[in-house]
Amino acid sequence: MAEFETPKLGEAPDTIPCLSIGSMAHSKPYKAAAEHQEKLGFPGELVENWQEKAIDKFGELLGKYRGLQVYMDACVKCGACTDKCHYFLGTGDPKNMPVARQDLMRKVYRRYFTTAGKWLPWLVGAEDFTEDVLEDWYSYFHQCSQCRRCSVYCPYGIDTAEISMAGREIMDHIGVGQKYSNEIIGKVHDIGNNLGLPANALRATLEDLEEDLEEETGVEIRLPLDEKGADVLLVTPSADFFAEPHVDGLLGYAKVFHQAGTSWTLSTHASEAANFAIFTGSYDQMKQIAERIRKAAEDLGVKRIVVGECGHAWRVAYNFWNTLIGPFDFLDQNYPIPQHICEFTHDLIIQDKLTLDPSKNDHMTLTFHDSCNVARASRMGENPGGQFTYPREIIKAVCNNFVDMAAETIHENTFCCGGGGGLLTDDLVELRVKGAKPRMEAYRQVVEDHGVTNLAAICAICKTQFAKVMPYYGFEMDAIVSVHQLVSNAIVFEPEPEDDGDQGTGEDDHGGE
């Protein structure tokens, strides 16, 4: 790992840095090995006629995705996006300005797909798809976390995420894939989850956690696996079974289900909510990964599907499941399909069905990081902005001390954690640290001004990313917490009556409307 300097935190999260041309050109994730590529149906290495193949694929995507065609044509170079990307703000590399990132694709588009670019390329910024351009694509399309902050500020709504997804898909088709994402997608096919956690290990882990829960609460709280006839199938990122603070959130879900008296189950077949194919732009892979969840829901005979704390999984579920794996006519239509775990818990709080003691979290002052895919690509509840209010209302119900970060850094303006979009890999640590700078600046403000001690999130990527990068900025790695970890701390259980055996049988009457 090359040495790099952690940026110094400035006064404001959106301070425009001095330009540092080419300073991140070296940043490239490891390429996928042939075995990882071929498992997903992609060529194992760069194909001989790669240029021709790439242009063919590009043409196909332009025909298939109308948005991509519009984004290629619509930019008027107004500059509104230039200082909106956290990777630009953290690195100063002008190719990390969203417009410049788009132009890496746009110049190729103009050369091969517009009349002016075919005849007068020098006049319209059109360029041949050369090896150097391909190198730039690989580098800078893997410096976009597909967080879509730039698209909020673009007067045309040009979505750089769609462009980097298309770029990665084109590269996959000529044999240039990213190791991190493609290896993981292969593991989902082989083992059932990103982590590579086999069924027996999952079962053992859950049993171990059940022991912890009983020791802590004195109550037999279950983490059921593959239980047919349960009302709810919970799909959650496999990081929830493995990492910290993720696992503390998982324990929170279990406590909420238990106190609600809702019968629920996890599934070994769908032991992963994440769907990394959205990052690589592969619709086919995205569909295959999503199909596991429908199959698990049908096989287990559940009435509802609830999604745990995972940002992009919620985007895929909320926006794409119906197209990918719908219709969900076999589920209970009285509840949201799918339902976010925050919607589930929020409903219970509104109906006063949870016993909560917020003073249990008095040792902390919280702020909340809106995860990009939840904030800008989905919703919770019936009303616009529910994805902002639900998590905050949950936190306020279980914590006495809550402060928001600066307005230009939360809600739809939220800054990415710096590790989203398939970039949460050790070979991109420099990019991840630098990309976290704007969020860290906003966090430092509330730490200094309001004594904030912890940052809460509802995304497995955000949690891992912050645990990794916060120490670079002088914060403790365990300053990052799961929202349902806070719920877990605050939820109070009465000791159970002596005769055991009749809890959690599915007396489920709380509404989801």
Partner: protein, 110 residues
Amino acid sequence: MAYEYNGTSVGADEEGYLSDITVWNPELAALIAQDEDIEMTSDHWEVVNFLREYYEEYQIAPAIRVLTKAVKKTLGPDKGNSKYLYELFPYGPAKQACKIAGLPKPTGCV
């Protein structure tokens, strides 16, 4: 990349995880640790050995919580926490300790 060991070259991936986990032995572990700037103490070995035992049974490294519980049992409550594990393996008890233990890297959002 590769580790030079006993006059032979032992294959590893770009990040230093062994390509063939069956070639692992304690001397090789010490060599990998050296590469990671880690001086192996008995506590380090305790973690590495636990990882290998767990992997043998489950074909995956244990969750951090399972690891801390195991460490608590063998090394005592003051060491059975993730802070101590990070002191032992600054790049993360799961990833760095797995590398030294000759096991594949845990992947995903971890």
